[in-house]
Amino acid sequence: MSDIVSAVDLKIGYSPSTVLANIDNLQINEGEIISIIGESGIGKTTLLKNIAYLVKPISGKLLVFNSTSYPQRGSVGYIPQKLGLINHETVYFNVLEGAVCNESVFRSITGFHEEKVVDTVKDSITLMDLSHKIDEPIKYLSGGQQRRVAIARTMAQGPKLILADEFLSELDDKTANSVWNIMQEYVKQNNITLIIVEHNIQRALLADRCLKLEKVTDSSSSILVEVDK
């Protein structure tokens, strides 16, 4: 199994004077489901953003797909805490946003989409049981439906690595478990690596490995430790 994410002596945060977390060593393999837990404001989201190349590390080495340069178009799927959907647009438009990663920029901008791209969008929407909502704007969907749209967008994108940031929060247990099961099944079937930030400990422990960011005494920054299951 090859490394999808590896980090050595990594310091993350938003300025060198306020390092949020020190990560001595981190290895995440292909097809693994990793959950990250920890208190609020400890650096979980910042770690995901570093892996997604949205924030630069303060120092240290971070390799994603064995490279320090920006990953190939479409290879990283990121589901932010508030999902990052375009609220005024339809389910179809939002899922298409993920699928356009698999075609040229010219086609994506001009709207002359390849047939297979359109088929992928429709398949992902059907798989998430949202066919009847295909033309509905996101703002009119329930929380659970919106999360399914975010998953459908990621499915249509077909990434090798998915980063999901507390995307099950604000859902009741039944809906959260159902969305979590769909996600888990999808990543296992397609050998995709999933890194999920999760507040619910029980759900976090369902992952292959559970990592915890925790404060160290005498230090303002946190460290990453593996939780024994």
Binding site: G77, P80, E97, V105, S108
Partner: protein, 294 residues
């Protein structure tokens, strides 16, 4: 009951602040008048004399056909200075708002700090700021000198001002967008242009349309001013009548302009209400059906 001075001052902070503003305004005003209160005493009398002797009643001949060129239309009003002037003002406002919108949107995306580095965003902000600093009237004088008298100078002047004004509204809207959709798109590896086309414009479309309608309404009002320096529109006729001291005709044109602005204001507010997000209830609209926005 004990009198707690600290709590009293805390509670009374805003009234005290308001009182200080009024007091300061009063002092500055007295300083500006500099003892010349007589000029103010006469102003109301002057206004009433000017109004009844020169402005009232309005001269509705402005709604009759001009003597030259000969009117070849079915209704006289279609050849009247009021109609010709107001239609030209509306045309100038329409074209300059459209052109201004098309040109300001790319500039606004370049000036947005959430889409670009500061080294790119700040020069474009400065450019928009320069365009906004000069009022449309000054732009009109500039273009009348460059191009000559007529509506094209008006269109150019209004377009330049629209770019500066609308550009600022647009980049502030773009910067106010939620970070999450942008982050998701960046992480996917979409290019900046794709992010603008697929995320920024769709997510801010309601606000952009609302601002466009507001700008049209604004340009109609200001279109009348730029005519005074010869840049076309109803302002051209207002300035001509002013030169010949025909204040009653000026009054009639101002009433026509006022009515048109009120109608456009009303239509614009109605149209904008369909594109503003924070409206809890909306009637199924004609605009929504046309533009397929729910």
């Amino acid at each position: 009951m004990n009198f707690d001075k600290e709590i009293f001052l805390k509670r009374k902070k805003y009234p005290i602040f308001l009182f200080l503003i009024i007091l300061t305004t009063g002092f500055v005003f007295v300083d500006l008048v500099d003892g010349d209160w007589k000029s103010l005493e006469n102003s109301l009398d002057n206004l009433s004399v000017f109004f009844y002797e020169s402005l009232w009643p309005p001269n509705w001949k402005v709604l009759e056909a001009r003597s030259y060129p000969v009117c070849d239309r079915n209704w006289d009003i279609l050849c009247s200075p009021a109609y010709i002037g107001i239609i030209e003002t509306l045309k100038i406002a329409f074209v300059s708002t459209g052109l201004g919108f098309i040109l300001s949107l790319p500039l606004a995306t370049l000036a947005s700090r959430n889409l670009n580095r500061d080294s790119i965003a700040i020069p474009f902000r400065l450019l928009l700021s320069v365009m906004r600093t000069l009022p449309s009237l000054i732009w009109a004088i500039f273009f009348v000198i460059l191009i000559g008298l007529g509506p094209i100078s008006g269109v150019m002047a209004m377009t330049f001002y629209t770019i500066g004004y609308l550009g600022k509204l647009q980049y502030e809207t773009i910067e106010g967008l939620s970070k999450d959709p942008l982050d998701a798109a960046k992480a996917m590896g979409l290019t900046n242009f794709e992010i603008i086309m697929r995320v920024v414009i769709p997510e801010s479309a309601n606000n952009l349309i609302s601002q466009l309608l507001f700008m049209f309404e604004y340009n109609v009002r200001h279109g009348s001013v730029i005519g005074i320096v010869g840049a076309g529109g109803i302002g051209y006729y207002i300035s001509t009548y002013l030169k010949f001291l025909q204040y009653d005709k000026v009054m009639a044109l101002l009433i026509v302009l006022f009515l048109v602005v009120v109608i456009i204001d009303f239509l614009s507010i109605k149209a904008r209400s369909y594109f503003v997000d924070d409206v809890s209830f909306k009637y199924p609209s004609f605009f929504q059906r046309i533009l397929r926005r729910k």
